[in-house]
């Protein structure tokens, strides 16, 4: 085994603290039952952020419309539960299938063009889907949202309760499975080729990596994962409305990912936790003007630079 392969294998080993953190996370809904709702919400958004990280952090595709897939997953799961079968896992499968189709089609749009072009195309797709959902209000409930989604118990046994504990565990388990899957993916040859594409597309092409096929594959995969997150959201809240496609949602998840750090799997989770906690804390204190403090935090974070935020003694050095 060459030195390169050996170092790559070593990098691929999950750290001990990964296991520890996940153990803590899985216990949280039991340890903090009053916050189970917040936990499930944060987990779902973290999964969404994770899916965005796949294309943004690992492949370098900037997207402002990732909510298109989140929304697709949400409505698919909700409609499936309402009209076909209330089992949550089957619903997730339906969400996966439909989002895969959408993702494959949309991936053709991000193959060419500059960052700005990709931003606009992804944004446009999300906006179009939002309009469509609004127009077909017989099916989707339009601006009033989709009512009457009653979920069956998970695995036929765990009912969705008022406290949100089942929801939290359900979301956590699904996210953990995705996390493990992604961990193997990014440390595989495929994963490394993605990072090569991100770093320098021309060079990757020059050494024979089939860029377009990989872009299509990873974009579809990211779409599927976003769809799973959306499906979880619809299932745990029993509701789907037009803002699942909203620009706010795409922008928020982008923010979270950058706060937590792109290019590593824990980035999405940490960013989601920081963002949501900040939101809860600040908006409890000032419900109307909390966006001001969020904006201030972002500006300072960007000015100072993420790495230095956690090390205040470096601030004095040329800001």
């Amino acid at each position: 085994m060459s030195a390169v392969t050996q170092s790559l294998r070593l990098a691929a080993q999950p750290r001990w603290w990964s296991f520890a953190l996940w153990a803590v996370l899985l216990v949280l809904p039991y340890a903090l039952p009053t916050h189970a709702l917040l936990i499930s919400e944060i987990t779902i958004i973290a999964l969404f952020a994770l899916s965005l990280d796949l294309i943004l952090g690992y492949t370098g595709i900037v997207s402002l419309g990732h909510a298109a897939f989140f929304g697709m997953g949400a409505y698919s799961a909700a409609l499936f539960a309402k009209h076909i079968h209330p089992d949550p896992l089957l619903g997730l499968a339906a969400a996966t299938g439909l989002t895969m189709l959408l993702g494959a089609v949309c991936s053709l749009g991000v193959l060419r063009g500059s960052d700005l072009t990709r931003l606009m195309v992804t944004l446009g797709v999300a906006l179009i889907l939002q309009e469509l959902a609004n127009k077909f209000d017989g099916l989707t409930g339009g601006a009033d949202g989709l009512q009457g989604v009653v979920m069956g118990p998970v695995l036929g046994y765990f009912e969705f309760d008022l406290y949100g504990q089942t929801a939290a565990w359900y979301a956590l388990v699904v996210t953990l499975l995705v996390f493990i899957g992604l961990h193997h993916l990014v440390h595989s040859p495929f994963g490394f080729s993605l990072q090569a594409i991100r770093d320098n597309r021309l060079r990757a092409q020059a050494i024979g990596i089939d860029v377009n096929t990989r872009l299509v594959t990873v974009y579809t995969l990211a779409a599927v994962l976003a769809g799973v997150a959306g499906g979880l959201q619809a299932q745990t809240t029993g509701f789907a409305s037009l803002d699942v496609f909203g620009f706010d949602r795409s922008a928020d998840v982008l923010l979270m990912l950058v706060i937590g750090g792109t290019g590593w799997l824990w980035g999405g989770l940490i960013g989601a936790v920081v963002f949501k906690t900040l939101h809860s804390v600040i908006s409890a204190w000032t419900p109307q003007y909390w966006t001001f403090w969020l904006g201030l935090f972002l500006v300072l974070l960007m000015l100072v630079g993420r790495e230095r935020l956690l090390r205040p003694w470096t601030w004095r050095r040329n800001i």
Binding site: Q147, G238, S241, D243, P287, Q288, W290, T291
Partner: protein, 389 residues
């Protein structure tokens, strides 16, 4: 050392005891409003009105201290539902209230049923809301009430051909449907029904289309706050000079914005349940107190919905002697309650749990240098025509 232990344990027992005693003595009201986003002005008005009511009537009712917990949902239904759930489970509120838009109320309905918490809807106006849960009570109004009133008034006043323009969501569709049905009943015609998107509406092309259709009048429903934009475009296209009258529900001439709309709003006839110029002693007192507490801001129909909602909760608390019997008893106390509101007399129907109140026909006129909706006709004790059950 022993003394210290004694002091500490005494202190903890006392604080625990007082906390428990405190907990029994506090009644929490959860108020979920859109304080940010497009409907922020709704949230502002309702919160101000709720706080005014508490300031005027004290924060102790039937031996309990009232605590108002205000939360912002930004107009996003997912947030409303989660906040409502947290309020019920964590804060242990006795009543949920607010709900600035239809989807926000509909999202929370199953929660109210599941947790047996009364839900007082102070703003949302689609008929079907009260049918979404047996625990929902409404103190705002419904669009069909206004639309039907208009559909009766218009044909009697020389308006036979109308184009309707509504925002494309629950209340708008309600308004369009009931106005159209009523017009047909009165042998008048609705030539075209246009729907404008709820978010970022651009009225110019739609109004141009109306202009080209040359009806007798344009019937408009847009949510509170968007009326000014319609008015501006209406005047810019010279539609008043082309002989097209502007009629609609009172959201068009919202008291919140009416004063800034200028001369162009004069003469617009609307049907609604509340005008800040309503000539009753109670209303005058309400408007004065509201203006004083809020920098001269005039209360609008949203504020009155909040004010009456608080009154309903207070009365229910008094009837149930401080909330004994939980949500079910509170709900029963609210049903069938009649009282005097700044809008006029109001009844919460025992069957439908919806409002029954007067719908006034008003015209925009100038009084003391300010613009008001002056009431000139009334349909008394109107029930919601939109109920299907």
């Amino acid at each position: 050392m022993f003394d210290r232990l004694l002091v500490v344990s005494l202190a903890s027992v006392l604080s625990l005891g007082s906390a428990m005693l405190q907990a029994q003595e506090v009644f929490k009201i959860g108020l979920i409003l859109p304080m940010t986003g497009q409907s922020a002005s709704t949230g502002k008005q309702i919160e101000a009105a709720a706080r005014l009511y508490i300031a005027q009537n004290g924060d102790k009712v039937a031996g309990k201290k009232i605590e108002l917990v205000v939360k912002d949902d930004g107009g996003v239904p997912d947030a409303t539902k989660r906040i409502a759930q947290e309020l019920v489970v964590n804060n242990k509120v006795g009543v949920l209230s607010g709900f600035g838009l239809t989807p926000l109320a509909l999202a929370t309905a199953p929660l109210a049923t599941q947790s047996k918490t009364p839900m007082v809807v102070m703003a949302a106006a689609t008929s079907s809301i009260t049918e979404a849960s047996p625990f929902i009570v409404r103190t705002s109004f419904t669009l069909p009430q206004c639309a039907v009133a208009m559909g009766d008034w218009a044909p009697k006043n020389g308006i036979r051909r109308v184009v309707t323009l509504v925002s494309d969501y629950g209340p708008g569709i309600d308004a369009e449907r009931y106005f159209k049905e009523r017009m047909l009943l009165n042998s008048a015609q609705v030539v075209e029904s246009l729907r404008v998107p709820l978010r970022n509406p651009d009225f110019a092309p739609f109004l141009q289309k109306v202009r080209d259709l040359k009806p007798d009048a344009l019937f408009v429903f847009v949510p509170s706050g968007a009326g000014a934009a319609v008015m501006k475009q209406f005047l810019e296209r010279g539609m008043d000079k082309a002989g097209i009258k502007l009629i609609g529900t009172g959201d068009l001439t919202d008291d919140d914005q009416l004063n800034d709309m200028g001369e162009g709003a004069l003469g617009v006839v609307t049907a609604h349940h509340y005008s800040a110029a309503h000539p009753s002693a109670l209303n005058q007192k309400f408007v004065e107190a509201f203006k004083k507490a809020n920098n001269g801001l005039r209360p609008n129909f949203m504020a009155v919905g909040g004010y009456d909602g608080m009154h309903l909760i207070y009365e229910a608390l008094k009837k149930t002697k401080g909330g004994q019997g939980g949500g079910v008893a509170m709900l029963a106390a609210m049903k069938g309650h009649i009282f005097e509101s700044p809008r006029g007399p109001i009844l919460i129907d025992a069957q439908t749990r919806d409002v029954v109140h007067n719908i006034y026909l008003r015209k925009v006129e100038k009084k003391d240098g300010q613009f008001y909706n002056v009431e000139f006709d009334v349909i008394k004790d109107m029930k919601d025509p939109g109920k299907t059950k």
